[in-house]
């Protein structure tokens, strides 16, 4: 159709304003799809914080709170659960594995987690990914520690470095377990989960460093050295929570009921997936604001096109009259402007996607190594396709206005050239 070729030539003729319009549409499309992808990835990575764990057990409390302190290391437990209860649950016939978690201490702002070697075997995140080490291995001695990737990176720790754990969540000088330093024996790979921000030690080590402490302070006059501590019975009295894997998921609700109805002490068992989506429901409100903002950015990009087209119309009245004189119908004039709007919107979408994929391609290795989040370079999802469709449609609707104006103008002007 020759009129579309004319539209193209005319657009090339105004390549500066056309180009700027194109760039503004492209950037807004890039932002829209980028934000959408980020939103989906953030939600996914949030949902992927823990995987493979069927139940989380802790002292009786709300599901979200239990999830927050046991998995996200945010806040504190209201109460502990006794070691005996833990053993009881671990010995239930449907239970395949358990990971005890003991929280409460910290190291320079990072939480210290007391656990056992099962943690490194059974803990899963992001659809069944297990924990791996960049250096070293799991602890097998009392005063050894394994660092999350971020801890090691931020604090500059290497294997064999010695670290001192502080009592409580605040690392203050007078409440450190200075006499019992830990040797770094392993550093883990990035996971993009709170594991990266955790200092891991054994449950026994947690007992050992508190052996001469009481009520959050060293017992005056009592000092038990690290070596002597080894000789004590270091079986924990209590832990904070436990992660439970079942032999079969069918047993989930049965075990949950059994834990919730445990008569020795009040306990709660929660399904991590349910608690995660509850939590997302609370913090996800912010998630809705982002796409609204980027939708407005797209709208402004298209408004820029509207302004560019409308201002071009006056200077193109002569062009329209010439076209009318050689037999172009007013509908041709409409198509001429509409074709330009369609070309700008389509090219804007194309360029926007190209920019986005280029950016993702560049960012992919960096994000993967720093945050352990794998950005899939897949084509647009159905939802993204829908968004792009809406952008295109909006572009065409926006383009109707100058097109209709040009149409009316060319009807009124006829062959007279008005400038």
């Amino acid at each position: 159709m020759p009129i579309l070729r004319l539209a193209w030539m005319s657009l090339l003729n105004r390549r500066l304003t056309g180009g700027l319009t194109l760039v503004s549409i492209a950037l807004s499309v890039m932002l829209l799809i980028g934000v959408e992808r980020l939103r989906v990835d953030a939600r996914e990575s949030f949902a992927n914080t823990i995987s493979g764990t069927d139940l989380i057990v802790g002292a009786r409390s709300g599901g979200v709170q239990l999830l927050l302190y046991s998995v996200f290391r945010i806040g504190n437990a209201t109460n502990n659960m006794s070691w005996k209860s833990y053993l009881d649950i671990a010995s239930m016939p449907s239970v395949a594995w358990t990971i005890p978690l003991s929280l409460g201490d910290s190291h320079r702002g990072y939480r210290v987690l007391g656990t056992n070697p099962d943690y490194f075997t059974h803990y899963r995140f992001s659809r069944d990914r297990g924990l791996t080490f960049t250096q070293g291995q799991a602890f097998d001695d009392l005063f050894q520690t394994v660092l999350g990737a971020e801890v090691a990176e931020a604090l500059g720790y290497q294997l064999d470095d010695a670290i001192v754990i502080a009592h409580g969540a605040n690392d203050v000088g007078y409440a450190r377990h200075e006499d019992k330093p830990f040797q770094v024996v392993g550093i883990m790979e990035h996971t993009g989960t709170p594991v990266d921000r955790t200092v891991h030690v054994s449950l026994e080590a947690i007992e050992a460093i508190h052996i001469d402490w009481q009520s959050g302070a060293p017992i005056p006059g009592l000092s038990i050295s690290a070596e002597r501590a080894r000789k004590f019975d270091l079986t924990p009295q209590a832990i904070t929570a436990a992660l439970i894997g079942l032999k079969s998921r069918i047993a989930t609700f049965k075990v949950q009921r059994a834990v919730n109805g445990y008569t020795e002490e009040p306990l709660s068992a929660i399904l991590p997936g349910v608690a995660l989506s509850e939590l997302w429901g609370i913090i996800g409100i912010a998630e809705n604001a982002l796409p609204i903002v980027s939708a407005f950015v797209v709208l402004f990009g298209l408004l820029g096109m509207l302004i560019a087209l409308l201002t071009s119309l006056n200077e193109r009245r002569r062009e329209m009259a010439i076209l009318r004189s050689v037999g172009a119908r007013p509908s041709h004039i409409f198509t001429l402007v509409m074709g330009e709007a369609a070309a700008l919107t389509l090219a804007g979408i194309g360029l926007g996607l190209t920019l986005l994929y280029g950016l993702l391609l560049l960012a992919q290795p960096i994000v993967e190594s720093r945050y352990g989040i794998h950005i899939a370079l897949s084509g647009p999802t159905r939802h993204e396709g829908l968004l792009l469709g809406i952008v295109l449609l909006t572009g065409l609707v926006v383009g109707m206005l100058p097109s209709y104006r040009a149409y009316k103008q060319s009807l009124a002007d006829g062959l007279s050239i008005r400038v």
């Binding site: 009129i3 030539m9 003729n13 010439i322 004189s325 172009a328 007279s416």
Partner: protein, 252 residues
């Protein structure tokens, strides 16, 4: 749409009216005063007519009627035996595309097209003119080149220059090549020489005559410039033909 006005032999219509107006009256708005009121006006096939009239005498209005942009409220307007007053606006657009070449006072060219693309433009909107052009040359571009060559526009690097870099006289010659493209029956020229230097005007008109003759086209030429009048077959003084006396002198 089917066209009955395929170009036949020029002579078969000799003496026939290309334009025939009867009892025509026209106003821009229903309430506005009548700006054109012509009892009778005929232009013969092959004639070269000079339309003279002061500002506000309705020259541009008459041209927009002949080109099928406007229609009279009353009376008969025949162009090439078609009642333009009875055609729809789309049909009139087709009619213009097929049969009429229109040349403006100035700025006739589309700035972003090459000289050749400007000349072949009418063939994008009319199959008849396309076929006519291809009857004379093998390709549209070749026909455009032939016409441009006749008008002395192919010398040096002129062809490769952007059309906006051409002088006004050169632009008008390219416009002349465009109206002649595909040999439309009726050429309408709306003061095409007014932006030219006096010594170029006559040369341009003679060039136009020569090409009209070859294409077998009728020429309706509007101008203020009485010095050109002598070159034409006939002069129509619009002030005498137009019975309406528009109060405002606004030009359309």
């Amino acid at each position: 749409m089917k066209e009955k006005h395929e170009r036949g032999s020029h002579s078969s219509r000799a003496g026939e009216n290309v334009v025939a107006i009867r009892d025509l009256s026209f106003r821009w708005q229903p309430q506005a005063p009548i700006v054109l009121n012509i009892d009778r006006l005929g232009i013969d096939n092959g004639e070269r007519v000079f339309i003279e009239g002061p500002s506000g005498s309705g020259k541009s209005t008459l041209l927009s009627l002949l080109a099928g942009v406007s229609v009279p409220q009353k009376g008969e307007l025949r162009v090439l035996d078609r009642r333009l007053d009875q055609l729809s606006s789309v049909q009139r657009d087709y009619f213009r595309a097929h049969h009429i070449g229109y040349i403006f006072q100035m700025f006739n060219l589309i700035p972003y097209l090459t000289m050749v693309d400007n000349v072949t433009l009418p063939c994008q909107f009319s199959k008849i003119r396309r076929d006519n052009a291809l009857r004379r040359s093998n390709t549209l571009d070749a026909e455009a080149m032939r016409l441009l060559d006749h008008l002395d526009m192919t010398r040096g690097d002129m062809l490769h220059r952007p059309v906006t870099a051409l002088s006004v006289g050169q632009q008008q010659r390219v416009a002349a090549a465009r109206v002649l493209m595909g040999a439309p029956e009726l050429l309408i020229a709306d003061e095409p020489t007014s932006s030219l230097d006096a010594d170029l005007r006559e040369a341009f008109v003679r060039l136009l005559f020569q090409e009209c003759e070859q294409a077998g086209s009728t020429l309706v030429f509007v101008s203020h410039d009485a010095s050109l009048e002598k070159l034409f077959d006939r002069t129509i003084r619009l002030a005498e033909v137009n019975a309406a006396r528009p109060e405002s002198t606004q030009e359309h």
